[in-house]
């Protein structure tokens, strides 16, 4: 039984400069209402609701107490994953695959009520890492540093990735930051945590993304051309930095292998048309290329954005970083491209897309990498 995406909806996105902020769950309502209205569906037609919300960042214990009805789940089957929102999509996909349900709403909202880097210090154990003020960003910097050292990567190469992502963002009507950032802008920006410079680090923005997914027959009732979920996979790795390779994303590599084997993908560069990747830093984007076997180990810099290999048409995290809602944003962007509804940045021949989701609340410690493969 196939499961397909039939609609997407977004709230407006906000950064800290905008004062008239809505609550994160009001944004959940707006995004979900738009997704349902788009296909003339109402909440009564939906069987299950899955959100992705992380209590620490929402500033409320049990943060889905508020989103559950905002997404339409009043007296319905509803739940919450505290992961990158691709896992909420994957969970909803499993629920439909079980045969017990036909239609699901998947939603994720990011709040700006707290400083993410500061709050993330509480994720680390109070014995070893917290006394060292570890936070998600410092963990990512340790990985970037390790990658640079292992493969002698110059920072200009990372800066080029930022430039290419923001070039894409400038054409994407849904990207939050549309301003192009050049290589020299990146190199001139200050170090925040060496080797990460200010313009290499995405800034969290607030907003919400909703998807509606359905089993085959129902999907076709609401959308003539649903975008099918061809396969999913995800892996998590260990906590201690000394126990694993820091210059290679092993968990993502394992997820990619699983999907490639199952879907008979021999040459991902050729077999997949679009890639939406969670570039939490440009160094990570290079590591993601390598884990996805788009290039050899240490050669991630060779991949540049061109017509034959379309990466982060959305503009990447550097342009729209909704923290745990980022994964759903990327899925939604791929959906719009594949449905020929992307607008300004629409590309030709978008038949199959790979979306990478990344739970990185603990920086380099215990990362969860996920893959959602979509096809027409």
């Amino acid at each position: 039984m196939k499961v397909g995406i039939i609609s997407v909806g977004f709230s407006d996105f906000y950064d800290k400069s905008i004062n008239e902020r809505k609550t994160y769950y009001e944004n959940s309502f707006i995004a979900t209402k738009r997704a349902l209205d788009e296909i003339g569906m109402n909440r009564g037609d939906v069987d299950v609701f899955v959100e992705s919300s992380i209590d620490l960042f929402a500033g409320r214990l049990i943060s889905n107490m508020y989103t559950c009805t905002a997404v339409g789940g009043y007296l319905k089957d509803e739940t919450n994953t505290a992961e990158d929102s691709t896992l909420a999509l994957i969970y909803a996909y499993m629920k439909l695959k079980s045969g017990l349900f036909d239609v699901a709403v998947v939603n994720s909202s990011t709040s700006l009520d707290v400083d993410y880097v500061h709050a993330s210090t509480t994720i680390f154990d109070p014995f070893i890492y917290r006394p060292l003020s570890m936070n998600y960003l410092s963990g990512l910097a340790i990985q970037a540093s390790s990658y640079m050292k292992s493969f002698k990567i110059k920072e200009e190469l990372a800066a080029k990735i930022v430039e290419s992502n923001t070039e894409n963002a400038s054409k994407n009507p849904r990207a939050f930051k549309k301003k192009k950032i050049t290589v020299s802008d990146v190199i001139k920006s200050e170090y925040v945590i060496w080797p990460l410079r200010e313009l290499m680090i995405p800034e969290v923005v607030s907003g919400s993304v909703s998807l509606v997914i359905a089993t085959e027959n129902i999907a076709k009732r609401y959308n003539d051309a649903p975008i099918w979920i061809e396969d999913v996979a995800w892996f998590s790795d260990g906590y201690y930095l000394g126990s694993k390779r820091l210059d290679f994303l092993t968990a993502l590599f394992n997820a990619a292998n699983k999907v490639y084997n199952k879907c008979n993908i021999m040459n991902p560069k050729k077999d997949i048309d679009l890639f939406e990747l969670s570039d939490v830093t440009p160094y990570h984007q290079m590591m993601i290329y390598e884990a996805l076997k788009l290039t050899e180990l240490g050669k991630g810099y060779e991949i540049i954005n061109n017509d034959s290999l379309r990466i982060n048409l959305s503009g990447g995290n550097i342009s729209t970083y909704l923290f745990q809602a980022t994964g759903l944003f990327k899925v939604a962007e791929a959906f719009l491209q594949m449905s020929n509804k992307a607008g300004n940045n629409q590309v030709e021949k978008a038949e199959r897309a790979l979306i990478h989701g990344f739970t990185h609340v603990a920086g380099a410690s215990t990362q969860t990498h996920s893959i959602v493969l979509l096809s027409k």
Partner: protein, 386 residues
């Protein structure tokens, strides 16, 4: 759709567990569950992890605990973190079920871990759940919500409901004496109950659950794996979850109608037409005495406003015709995010005939329940020996 079964569980000692770290407590539960199924961590395809952030002094503790789940070895593991408040443990069971029922995985481990004693005051943490702009200032926590239920039940249905709450308090603590994994093991009398102080009127100290540390691991399997590994697995016949409004005024307070709606759905799926007759044992989420009585009514074991009658007739005590919480329930042991999964584990042990000193004779069908949020979430599962 393929059938899904529980093939083994691992419970830990509960109480104040300052002898182990969070990670070590998770490991203890997993190691026990694997041993009980004669499995190795590498036999586990995927892990579902739950906690109720932030009771433990570590946010998102699945990150720290990941190595206890096998994520740090070999290929790592597909791990999914679920958090839904008091229902978290039940949400884990449901999530693990869908991992298997979807056909994606054959052997899935659900683990709930909580160290409530690592905060100074649980109600202070719970107070961070309620609306921070309107409700937080009133100092509202879980006990306050349950006190509203007791107060309204008392005024609406039964002015001496306190006498029945006393009954529930005593039965559960006595049952816990049979359970080596229980936290509070109290042989209490009516006098003890009535001399116990009011915390939030009309709830007394003995109406309330303790703050416990504890973990539980439960292994779910496809029918193919279950039949190979277990002689008498606990088959999942029905399950479901319901969410309601956060807002206090939107829900009736004296009757848990959201649970009543869910129970109908779940019993339909499980093909149970008369729960009172067909269910042999129930593990209900009784964080406060009044809730057990309200759960009888919502689940359909008693009429609205008459749950207390089951206590008059001794039906729900250990030797009654429908024992409730032979484990001692949440009233005796509450490591919050583990508690819902402990209900599932205890129900599975009853069905498998492995509940030892707390085993009820001749169990065919058992139910497990959990509630969470602002009296707004419920999860329910029916387990059966066939």
């Amino acid at each position: 759709m393929d059938k899904v079964a529980i093939i083994g569980v691992g419970l830990t000692k509960t109480g104040r567990r300052n002898d182990v770290s969070h990670q070590e407590l998770a490991f203890e539960a997993i190691k026990t569950a694997l041993k009980n199924c004669e499995l190795d961590i590498d036999d586990i395809d995927a892990v579902v992890y739950g906690t109720m952030d932030n009771f433990d002094g570590i946010s998102s503790p699945e990150r720290f605990d990941s190595i206890a789940l096998g994520c740090g070895r070999g290929r790592g593991k597909p791990m999914m973190k679920i958090t839904t408040g008091g229902t978290t443990g039940m949400s884990l069971a449901l999530t693990a079920y869908y991992h298997v029922a979807s056909g994606l995985y054959d052997t899935v481990l659900a683990i709930g871990v909580q160290k409530v004693s690592e905060n100074v005051e649980a109600q202070q943490v719970l107070n961070t759940a309620v609306d921070p702009i309107l409700d937080k200032t009133f100092g509202l926590g879980a006990i306050h919500a349950a006190a509203f239920q007791a107060s309204r039940y008392r005024s609406t249905y039964k002015s001496n409901i306190e006498d029945y709450m006393c009954n529930v308090a005593i039965i559960n603590r006595k049952n816990a004496l049979r359970n080596p994994f229980a936290h509070l093991k109290l042989n209490i009398t009516d006098d003890d109950y009535y001399s116990s102080p009011y915390l939030v009127w009309p709830l007394r100290l003995l109406d309330s659950c303790p703050s416990s540390d504890g973990a539980v691991a439960v292994i779910f399997a496809s029918s193919k794996v279950a039949k190979r590994l277990s002689e008498n697995p606990a088959w999942i016949k029905g399950l479901g979850y319901i969410s309601d409004s956060y807002w206090w005024g939107t829900k009736p307070i004296e009757f848990w109608d959201n649970l009543a709606i869910l129970a109908k759905r779940v019993f339909k799926m499980a093909k149970i037409s008369n729960p009172f007759k067909e269910i042999n044992v129930a593990e209900l989420y009784n964080a406060f005495t009044i809730q057990e009585i309200m759960e009888y009514e919502a689940i359909g074991l008693a009429k609205k406003g008459q749950g207390w009658k089951l206590l008059d007739e001794g039906i729900t005590c250990f030797h009654g015709s429908l024992p409730v919480c032979p484990s001692g329930g949440v009233l005796s042991t509450n490591p919050i995010a583990a508690s819902g999964l402990i209900r599932v584990a205890e129900a599975a042990l009853q069905v498998m005939g492995k509940a030892e000193g707390r085993q009820i004779d001749g169990v065919k069908n058992a139910i497990a329940h959990a509630w969470g949020g602002a009296l707004q979430f419920h999860g329910l599962m029916v387990l059966s020996n066939e």
